[in-house]
Symmetry: C2
Subunit: 241 residues, 2 copies
Protein backbone atom coordinates (compact mmCIF):
# COMPACT_ATOMS: atom_id res chain seq x y z
CA UNK A 1 0.00 0.00 0.00
CA UNK A 2 1.35 3.38 -0.97
CA UNK A 3 0.49 6.69 0.60
CA UNK A 4 -0.76 9.10 -1.97
CA UNK A 5 0.54 12.11 -0.14
CA UNK A 6 2.11 13.34 3.03
CA UNK A 7 1.51 16.40 5.15
CA UNK A 8 4.34 18.87 5.57
CA UNK A 9 4.85 21.65 8.08
CA UNK A 10 7.46 24.30 8.79
CA UNK A 11 8.12 23.01 12.27
CA UNK A 12 7.96 19.49 13.67
CA UNK A 13 4.62 18.54 15.17
CA UNK A 14 3.63 15.79 17.56
CA UNK A 15 0.99 13.20 16.83
CA UNK A 16 -2.01 13.58 19.13
CA UNK A 17 -4.03 10.72 20.51
CA UNK A 18 -6.86 10.36 22.98
CA UNK A 19 -6.98 7.55 25.55
CA UNK A 20 -10.01 6.74 27.64
CA UNK A 21 -10.37 5.44 31.16
CA UNK A 22 -13.80 3.91 30.79
CA UNK A 23 -15.53 2.82 33.99
CA UNK A 24 -18.49 0.53 34.37
CA UNK A 25 -20.29 -0.68 37.45
CA UNK A 26 -22.25 -3.77 38.27
CA UNK A 27 -23.63 -4.40 41.76
CA UNK A 28 -22.13 -7.89 41.58
CA UNK A 29 -18.68 -7.10 40.24
CA UNK A 30 -18.14 -3.62 41.55
CA UNK A 31 -16.23 -0.98 39.66
CA UNK A 32 -14.69 -2.16 36.42
CA UNK A 33 -12.35 -0.77 33.85
CA UNK A 34 -12.51 -1.46 30.15
CA UNK A 35 -9.28 -2.53 28.51
CA UNK A 36 -8.57 -3.72 25.00
CA UNK A 37 -5.92 -6.04 23.70
CA UNK A 38 -3.83 -4.27 21.09
CA UNK A 39 -3.75 -5.79 17.67
CA UNK A 40 -0.81 -3.83 16.30
CA UNK A 41 2.69 -2.81 17.34
CA UNK A 42 3.86 -1.23 19.49
CA UNK A 43 2.77 -3.34 22.43
CA UNK A 44 0.92 -5.80 20.20
CA UNK A 45 -1.15 -8.28 22.26
CA UNK A 46 -0.75 -6.17 25.37
CA UNK A 47 -3.73 -4.74 27.25
CA UNK A 48 -4.22 -1.02 26.86
CA UNK A 49 -6.79 1.71 27.20
CA UNK A 50 -9.13 2.28 24.29
CA UNK A 51 -7.94 5.23 22.26
CA UNK A 52 -6.36 6.37 19.05
CA UNK A 53 -5.27 9.32 17.01
CA UNK A 54 -7.32 12.44 16.64
CA UNK A 55 -8.50 12.83 13.07
CA UNK A 56 -7.85 16.08 11.27
CA UNK A 57 -9.16 17.25 7.96
CA UNK A 58 -7.01 16.60 4.91
CA UNK A 59 -5.94 20.23 5.04
CA UNK A 60 -4.88 19.57 8.61
CA UNK A 61 -6.88 22.47 9.91
CA UNK A 62 -10.30 21.25 10.90
CA UNK A 63 -11.47 17.81 11.85
CA UNK A 64 -12.98 16.46 15.02
CA UNK A 65 -12.75 18.00 18.47
CA UNK A 66 -10.91 16.15 21.21
CA UNK A 67 -14.16 15.16 22.89
CA UNK A 68 -15.48 13.85 19.59
CA UNK A 69 -12.32 11.84 19.08
CA UNK A 70 -12.75 10.25 22.49
CA UNK A 71 -16.39 9.41 21.81
CA UNK A 72 -15.55 8.00 18.40
CA UNK A 73 -12.81 5.77 19.76
CA UNK A 74 -15.09 4.47 22.48
CA UNK A 75 -17.74 3.69 19.92
CA UNK A 76 -15.35 2.04 17.50
CA UNK A 77 -13.39 -0.01 19.95
CA UNK A 78 -15.97 -0.98 22.50
CA UNK A 79 -19.46 -0.23 21.23
CA UNK A 80 -20.10 1.55 24.50
CA UNK A 81 -22.54 4.41 24.60
CA UNK A 82 -21.07 6.84 26.97
CA UNK A 83 -23.14 8.51 29.68
CA UNK A 84 -20.46 10.88 30.90
CA UNK A 85 -17.19 12.12 29.47
CA UNK A 86 -14.59 14.35 31.06
CA UNK A 87 -11.10 15.32 30.02
CA UNK A 88 -8.50 14.30 32.58
CA UNK A 89 -5.04 15.43 31.62
CA UNK A 90 -2.66 15.60 28.70
CA UNK A 91 0.43 13.42 28.80
CA UNK A 92 3.32 14.63 26.73
CA UNK A 93 6.61 13.27 27.99
CA UNK A 94 9.05 13.02 25.07
CA UNK A 95 9.61 9.25 25.19
CA UNK A 96 6.22 7.98 26.30
CA UNK A 97 5.55 6.35 22.91
CA UNK A 98 8.25 4.42 21.05
CA UNK A 99 6.92 5.54 17.68
CA UNK A 100 8.00 9.12 18.30
CA UNK A 101 6.51 12.15 19.91
CA UNK A 102 2.90 11.41 20.74
CA UNK A 103 0.75 13.49 23.03
CA UNK A 104 -2.14 11.74 24.67
CA UNK A 105 -5.19 13.60 25.87
CA UNK A 106 -6.64 11.36 28.55
CA UNK A 107 -10.37 11.12 29.22
CA UNK A 108 -12.51 9.55 31.88
CA UNK A 109 -15.81 8.07 30.68
CA UNK A 110 -18.70 6.42 32.48
CA UNK A 111 -21.21 3.96 31.05
CA UNK A 112 -24.29 2.22 32.27
CA UNK A 113 -22.84 -1.25 32.00
CA UNK A 114 -26.18 -2.98 31.57
CA UNK A 115 -26.92 -0.90 28.49
CA UNK A 116 -24.42 -2.50 26.22
CA UNK A 117 -22.33 -5.51 25.48
CA UNK A 118 -18.62 -5.18 24.96
CA UNK A 119 -17.24 -6.08 21.60
CA UNK A 120 -13.84 -5.78 20.01
CA UNK A 121 -13.55 -3.23 17.25
CA UNK A 122 -11.31 -2.30 14.40
CA UNK A 123 -8.08 -1.80 16.27
CA UNK A 124 -8.93 -3.93 19.23
CA UNK A 125 -8.56 -7.67 18.99
CA UNK A 126 -10.48 -8.09 22.18
CA UNK A 127 -12.10 -5.97 24.86
CA UNK A 128 -12.95 -6.85 28.44
CA UNK A 129 -14.00 -5.43 31.77
CA UNK A 130 -11.46 -5.90 34.53
CA UNK A 131 -11.38 -4.99 38.19
CA UNK A 132 -9.73 -1.62 38.50
CA UNK A 133 -6.83 -2.90 40.56
CA UNK A 134 -4.66 -5.31 38.59
CA UNK A 135 -6.09 -3.95 35.38
CA UNK A 136 -5.50 -6.50 32.66
CA UNK A 137 -3.65 -8.84 34.95
CA UNK A 138 -0.61 -6.61 35.21
CA UNK A 139 0.89 -3.67 33.44
CA UNK A 140 -0.85 -1.91 30.63
CA UNK A 141 0.84 -0.66 27.47
CA UNK A 142 2.54 2.75 27.27
CA UNK A 143 2.00 4.88 30.38
CA UNK A 144 -1.58 3.71 30.65
CA UNK A 145 -1.19 2.55 34.24
CA UNK A 146 -0.51 6.14 35.25
CA UNK A 147 -3.53 7.29 33.28
CA UNK A 148 -5.75 4.76 35.04
CA UNK A 149 -4.44 5.88 38.39
CA UNK A 150 -5.34 9.44 37.55
CA UNK A 151 -8.79 8.40 36.37
CA UNK A 152 -9.49 6.53 39.58
CA UNK A 153 -8.38 9.49 41.67
CA UNK A 154 -10.58 11.84 39.67
CA UNK A 155 -13.60 9.57 39.90
CA UNK A 156 -13.19 9.20 43.67
CA UNK A 157 -12.78 12.92 44.18
CA UNK A 158 -15.57 13.96 41.87
CA UNK A 159 -18.11 11.46 43.10
CA UNK A 160 -18.15 13.35 46.39
CA UNK A 161 -19.05 16.73 45.06
CA UNK A 162 -20.78 16.11 41.75
CA UNK A 163 -23.72 13.88 40.85
CA UNK A 164 -21.86 11.81 38.28
CA UNK A 165 -22.34 8.42 39.89
CA UNK A 166 -25.79 8.11 38.36
CA UNK A 167 -24.10 7.70 34.99
CA UNK A 168 -22.89 4.30 36.12
CA UNK A 169 -26.36 3.05 37.02
CA UNK A 170 -29.44 2.22 34.96
CA UNK A 171 -31.94 5.07 34.61
CA UNK A 172 -33.86 3.80 37.60
CA UNK A 173 -32.15 2.23 40.56
CA UNK A 174 -32.62 1.32 44.20
CA UNK A 175 -30.88 3.31 46.90
CA UNK A 176 -28.94 0.24 47.93
CA UNK A 177 -27.46 0.03 44.44
CA UNK A 178 -26.39 3.64 44.63
CA UNK A 179 -24.85 2.98 48.01
CA UNK A 180 -22.95 -0.04 46.72
CA UNK A 181 -21.63 2.12 43.91
CA UNK A 182 -20.34 4.74 46.33
CA UNK A 183 -18.81 2.07 48.52
CA UNK A 184 -17.10 0.45 45.56
CA UNK A 185 -15.62 3.68 44.30
CA UNK A 186 -14.67 5.20 47.63
CA UNK A 187 -13.47 1.86 48.96
CA UNK A 188 -15.12 2.14 52.33
CA UNK A 189 -18.41 1.08 53.88
CA UNK A 190 -21.10 3.70 54.37
CA UNK A 191 -23.85 3.76 56.95
CA UNK A 192 -27.15 2.83 55.34
CA UNK A 193 -29.40 5.19 57.27
CA UNK A 194 -27.08 8.16 56.99
CA UNK A 195 -26.56 7.53 53.31
CA UNK A 196 -30.25 7.35 52.56
CA UNK A 197 -31.01 10.41 54.63
CA UNK A 198 -28.35 12.54 52.98
CA UNK A 199 -29.18 11.52 49.44
CA UNK A 200 -32.92 11.94 49.84
CA UNK A 201 -32.54 15.24 51.68
CA UNK A 202 -31.04 16.75 48.53
CA UNK A 203 -34.33 16.31 46.70
CA UNK A 204 -32.61 15.14 43.56
CA UNK A 205 -34.24 11.76 43.25
CA UNK A 206 -37.75 11.19 41.97
CA UNK A 207 -39.56 7.99 42.79
CA UNK A 208 -39.92 5.72 39.77
CA UNK A 209 -41.77 2.57 40.77
CA UNK A 210 -40.65 -0.47 42.67
CA UNK A 211 -38.48 -3.45 41.98
CA UNK A 212 -40.19 -6.50 40.51
CA UNK A 213 -39.37 -10.16 40.69
CA UNK A 214 -37.01 -10.05 43.63
CA UNK A 215 -37.17 -12.66 46.33
CA UNK A 216 -37.61 -10.16 49.13
CA UNK A 217 -39.29 -6.88 49.89
CA UNK A 218 -39.26 -4.77 46.72
CA UNK A 219 -37.14 -1.65 46.90
CA UNK A 220 -38.37 1.74 45.76
CA UNK A 221 -36.73 2.75 42.50
CA UNK A 222 -35.54 6.28 41.91
CA UNK A 223 -34.57 8.34 38.93
CA UNK A 224 -32.01 11.14 39.07
CA UNK A 225 -33.90 14.36 38.39
CA UNK A 226 -31.71 16.44 36.06
CA UNK A 227 -34.15 19.31 36.10
CA UNK A 228 -34.29 19.53 39.86
CA UNK A 229 -30.52 19.43 39.96
CA UNK A 230 -30.17 22.21 37.41
CA UNK A 231 -32.60 24.34 39.37
CA UNK A 232 -30.76 23.76 42.63
CA UNK A 233 -27.36 24.50 41.11
CA UNK A 234 -28.77 27.70 39.75
CA UNK A 235 -29.83 28.61 43.28
CA UNK A 236 -26.32 28.09 44.59
CA UNK A 237 -26.66 24.50 45.71
CA UNK A 238 -23.64 22.21 45.86
CA UNK A 239 -23.92 18.46 45.68
CA UNK A 240 -21.99 16.91 48.54
CA UNK A 241 -21.34 13.23 49.09
Amino acid sequence: MTRLRTFAYEFPRPAVAVDCVLFGFDPEDGLRLLVIRRRQAPFADRWALPGGFVRLDADGEGGESLDDAALRELREETGANVAYLEQLYTFGAPRRDPRGRVLSVAYMALVRTRDHHVRGGDDAAEAKWTPVERSGGGKLAFDHDAIVELGVARLQAKLRYAPIGFNLLPPTFALSELQRLYEAVLQRPLDKRNFRRRILAMDLLAEAGRQEGVAHRAATLYRFDERAYARLVHAGFNFEL
Copy 2:
Protein backbone atom coordinates in the same frame (compact mmCIF):
# COMPACT_ATOMS: atom_id res chain seq x y z
CA MET B 1 14.17 34.22 4.83
CA THR B 2 13.87 30.72 3.42
CA ARG B 3 13.12 27.59 5.37
CA LEU B 4 15.81 25.01 4.88
CA ARG B 5 13.46 22.11 5.30
CA THR B 6 10.01 21.06 6.27
CA PHE B 7 8.66 18.19 8.34
CA ALA B 8 6.41 15.66 6.66
CA TYR B 9 4.08 13.07 8.14
CA GLU B 10 1.74 10.38 6.85
CA PHE B 11 -1.28 11.93 8.51
CA PRO B 12 -2.10 15.54 9.26
CA ARG B 13 -1.00 16.72 12.69
CA PRO B 14 -2.07 19.68 14.78
CA ALA B 15 0.32 22.31 16.06
CA VAL B 16 0.54 22.22 19.86
CA ALA B 17 0.92 25.28 22.04
CA VAL B 18 0.93 25.95 25.76
CA ASP B 19 -0.83 28.96 27.27
CA CYS B 20 -0.40 30.06 30.85
CA VAL B 21 -2.78 31.66 33.29
CA LEU B 22 -0.20 33.33 35.51
CA PHE B 23 -1.45 34.73 38.79
CA GLY B 24 0.28 37.19 41.06
CA PHE B 25 -0.84 38.72 44.32
CA ASP B 26 -0.11 41.96 46.05
CA PRO B 27 -1.82 42.93 49.31
CA GLU B 28 -2.56 46.32 47.76
CA ASP B 29 -3.83 45.27 44.36
CA GLY B 30 -5.28 41.88 45.13
CA LEU B 31 -5.15 39.00 42.69
CA ARG B 32 -3.69 39.85 39.32
CA LEU B 33 -3.32 38.14 36.00
CA LEU B 34 -0.40 38.55 33.65
CA VAL B 35 -1.25 39.35 30.04
CA ILE B 36 0.96 40.24 27.12
CA ARG B 37 0.28 42.32 24.08
CA ARG B 38 0.80 40.26 20.96
CA ARG B 39 3.37 41.51 18.51
CA GLN B 40 2.40 39.30 15.57
CA ALA B 41 -0.70 38.21 13.73
CA PRO B 42 -3.12 36.76 14.39
CA PHE B 43 -4.57 39.13 16.97
CA ALA B 44 -1.59 41.50 16.69
CA ASP B 45 -1.72 44.22 19.37
CA ARG B 46 -4.38 42.33 21.29
CA TRP B 47 -3.88 41.22 24.86
CA ALA B 48 -3.38 37.49 25.31
CA LEU B 49 -2.02 34.91 27.70
CA PRO B 50 1.69 34.21 27.61
CA GLY B 51 2.33 31.05 25.64
CA GLY B 52 3.69 29.58 22.46
CA PHE B 53 4.41 26.44 20.56
CA VAL B 54 5.93 23.37 22.12
CA ARG B 55 9.40 22.74 20.71
CA LEU B 56 10.20 19.33 19.33
CA ASP B 57 13.52 17.93 18.26
CA ALA B 58 14.45 18.26 14.61
CA ASP B 59 13.49 14.60 14.16
CA GLY B 60 10.15 15.54 15.63
CA GLU B 61 10.33 12.82 18.22
CA GLY B 62 11.87 14.24 21.38
CA GLY B 63 12.07 17.80 22.56
CA GLU B 64 10.72 19.47 25.67
CA SER B 65 7.94 18.21 27.88
CA LEU B 66 4.72 20.19 28.13
CA ASP B 67 5.63 21.47 31.58
CA ASP B 68 9.03 22.56 30.31
CA ALA B 69 7.40 24.39 27.42
CA ALA B 70 5.17 26.28 29.84
CA LEU B 71 8.10 27.22 32.07
CA ARG B 72 10.15 28.30 29.09
CA GLU B 73 7.41 30.52 27.72
CA LEU B 74 6.91 32.13 31.09
CA ARG B 75 10.60 32.82 31.35
CA GLU B 76 10.89 34.15 27.82
CA GLU B 77 7.83 36.30 27.78
CA THR B 78 7.63 37.61 31.29
CA GLY B 79 10.86 36.94 33.15
CA ALA B 80 8.77 35.47 35.93
CA ASN B 81 10.19 32.73 38.08
CA VAL B 82 7.37 30.42 38.73
CA ALA B 83 6.64 29.09 42.20
CA TYR B 84 3.89 26.70 41.19
CA LEU B 85 2.77 25.19 37.91
CA GLU B 86 -0.19 22.97 37.17
CA GLN B 87 -1.74 21.75 33.96
CA LEU B 88 -5.35 22.87 33.58
CA TYR B 89 -6.94 21.53 30.45
CA THR B 90 -6.31 21.02 26.75
CA PHE B 91 -8.32 23.07 24.32
CA GLY B 92 -8.72 21.58 20.89
CA ALA B 93 -11.78 22.93 19.11
CA PRO B 94 -11.18 22.83 15.35
CA ARG B 95 -11.50 26.57 14.71
CA ARG B 96 -10.04 28.06 17.88
CA ASP B 97 -7.01 29.43 16.03
CA PRO B 98 -7.34 31.08 12.60
CA ARG B 99 -3.95 29.74 11.49
CA GLY B 100 -5.25 26.20 11.41
CA ARG B 101 -5.60 23.37 13.83
CA VAL B 102 -3.81 24.33 17.02
CA LEU B 103 -4.20 22.52 20.32
CA SER B 104 -3.47 24.51 23.41
CA VAL B 105 -2.45 22.88 26.65
CA ALA B 106 -3.43 25.40 29.30
CA TYR B 107 -1.48 25.85 32.52
CA MET B 108 -2.03 27.73 35.73
CA ALA B 109 1.07 29.26 37.30
CA LEU B 110 1.67 31.18 40.51
CA VAL B 111 4.46 33.64 41.24
CA ARG B 112 5.62 35.63 44.21
CA THR B 113 4.97 38.97 42.62
CA ARG B 114 7.50 40.86 44.72
CA ASP B 115 10.27 38.61 43.44
CA HIS B 116 10.38 39.88 39.93
CA HIS B 117 9.63 42.72 37.62
CA VAL B 118 7.60 42.16 34.51
CA ARG B 119 9.25 42.72 31.20
CA GLY B 120 8.22 42.13 27.63
CA GLY B 121 10.04 39.33 25.82
CA ASP B 122 10.66 38.10 22.33
CA ASP B 123 7.11 37.61 21.20
CA ALA B 124 5.54 40.03 23.61
CA ALA B 125 5.60 43.72 22.86
CA GLU B 126 4.46 44.44 26.35
CA ALA B 127 3.44 42.61 29.49
CA LYS B 128 1.33 43.81 32.40
CA TRP B 129 -0.53 42.71 35.46
CA THR B 130 -4.26 43.27 35.32
CA PRO B 131 -7.11 42.66 37.73
CA VAL B 132 -8.54 39.26 36.99
CA GLU B 133 -11.95 40.55 36.05
CA ARG B 134 -11.85 42.70 32.92
CA SER B 135 -8.51 41.19 32.01
CA GLY B 136 -6.74 43.44 29.58
CA GLY B 137 -9.61 45.87 29.49
CA GLY B 138 -11.89 43.58 27.54
CA LYS B 139 -11.63 40.43 25.54
CA LEU B 140 -8.41 38.52 25.17
CA ALA B 141 -7.18 36.95 21.93
CA PHE B 142 -8.24 33.45 20.80
CA ASP B 143 -10.29 31.60 23.43
CA HIS B 144 -8.12 32.95 26.21
CA ASP B 145 -11.03 34.37 28.15
CA ALA B 146 -12.36 30.85 28.61
CA ILE B 147 -8.92 29.68 29.70
CA VAL B 148 -8.72 32.44 32.29
CA GLU B 149 -12.12 31.54 33.60
CA LEU B 150 -11.00 27.96 34.03
CA GLY B 151 -7.82 29.07 35.76
CA VAL B 152 -9.72 31.20 38.22
CA ALA B 153 -12.11 28.37 39.00
CA ARG B 154 -9.23 25.98 39.56
CA LEU B 155 -7.37 28.39 41.79
CA GLN B 156 -10.45 29.03 43.89
CA ALA B 157 -11.20 25.35 44.24
CA LYS B 158 -7.68 24.26 44.93
CA LEU B 159 -6.86 26.97 47.43
CA ARG B 160 -9.37 25.38 49.77
CA TYR B 161 -7.87 21.95 49.89
CA ALA B 162 -4.22 22.39 48.98
CA PRO B 163 -1.55 24.67 50.40
CA ILE B 164 -0.77 26.44 47.15
CA GLY B 165 -1.59 29.96 48.25
CA PHE B 166 1.84 30.32 49.82
CA ASN B 167 3.28 30.37 46.32
CA LEU B 168 1.73 33.79 45.85
CA LEU B 169 3.36 35.29 48.94
CA PRO B 170 6.95 36.09 49.83
CA PRO B 171 8.79 33.37 51.76
CA THR B 172 7.81 35.00 55.04
CA PHE B 173 4.51 36.71 55.53
CA ALA B 174 2.09 37.93 58.16
CA LEU B 175 -1.15 36.05 58.80
CA SER B 176 -3.13 39.09 57.74
CA GLU B 177 -1.46 38.95 54.33
CA LEU B 178 -2.38 35.32 53.97
CA GLN B 179 -5.93 36.15 54.94
CA ARG B 180 -6.14 38.96 52.39
CA LEU B 181 -4.92 36.51 49.77
CA TYR B 182 -7.66 34.04 50.62
CA GLU B 183 -10.25 36.78 50.64
CA ALA B 184 -9.09 38.09 47.27
CA VAL B 185 -9.20 34.69 45.62
CA LEU B 186 -12.37 33.38 47.21
CA GLN B 187 -14.08 36.76 46.88
CA ARG B 188 -15.56 36.84 50.33
CA PRO B 189 -14.53 38.18 53.72
CA LEU B 190 -13.20 35.74 56.30
CA ASP B 191 -13.37 36.02 60.06
CA LYS B 192 -9.96 36.98 61.43
CA ARG B 193 -10.05 34.89 64.58
CA ASN B 194 -11.41 31.80 62.93
CA PHE B 195 -8.94 32.13 60.09
CA ARG B 196 -5.93 32.45 62.39
CA ARG B 197 -7.06 29.61 64.57
CA ARG B 198 -7.66 27.23 61.67
CA ILE B 199 -4.40 27.99 59.91
CA LEU B 200 -2.26 27.81 63.04
CA ALA B 201 -3.98 24.65 64.23
CA MET B 202 -2.61 22.82 61.19
CA ASP B 203 0.93 23.29 62.45
CA LEU B 204 2.20 24.10 58.99
CA LEU B 205 3.59 27.53 59.71
CA ALA B 206 6.87 28.20 61.48
CA GLU B 207 7.52 31.55 63.08
CA ALA B 208 10.07 33.60 61.19
CA GLY B 209 10.62 36.91 62.95
CA ARG B 210 8.51 40.03 63.04
CA GLN B 211 7.68 42.82 60.69
CA GLU B 212 9.98 45.85 60.77
CA GLY B 213 9.42 49.47 59.95
CA VAL B 214 5.64 49.43 60.07
CA ALA B 215 3.75 52.27 61.70
CA HIS B 216 1.82 50.03 64.07
CA ARG B 217 2.27 46.91 66.13
CA ALA B 218 4.60 44.55 64.26
CA ALA B 219 3.04 41.31 63.08
CA THR B 220 4.64 37.92 63.57
CA LEU B 221 6.00 36.58 60.29
CA TYR B 222 5.59 32.96 59.33
CA ARG B 223 7.16 30.63 56.84
CA PHE B 224 5.31 27.70 55.27
CA ASP B 225 6.99 24.56 56.54
CA GLU B 226 7.26 22.19 53.57
CA ARG B 227 8.76 19.46 55.69
CA ALA B 228 6.01 19.55 58.26
CA TYR B 229 3.45 19.46 55.47
CA ALA B 230 5.10 16.47 53.79
CA ARG B 231 5.14 14.65 57.11
CA LEU B 232 1.48 15.37 57.80
CA VAL B 233 0.39 14.34 54.31
CA HIS B 234 2.27 11.11 54.78
CA ALA B 235 0.27 10.56 57.97
CA GLY B 236 -3.01 10.98 56.11
CA PHE B 237 -3.56 14.67 56.78
CA ASN B 238 -5.60 16.79 54.38
CA PHE B 239 -5.18 20.52 54.13
CA GLU B 240 -8.56 22.18 54.38
CA LEU B 241 -9.33 25.85 53.95
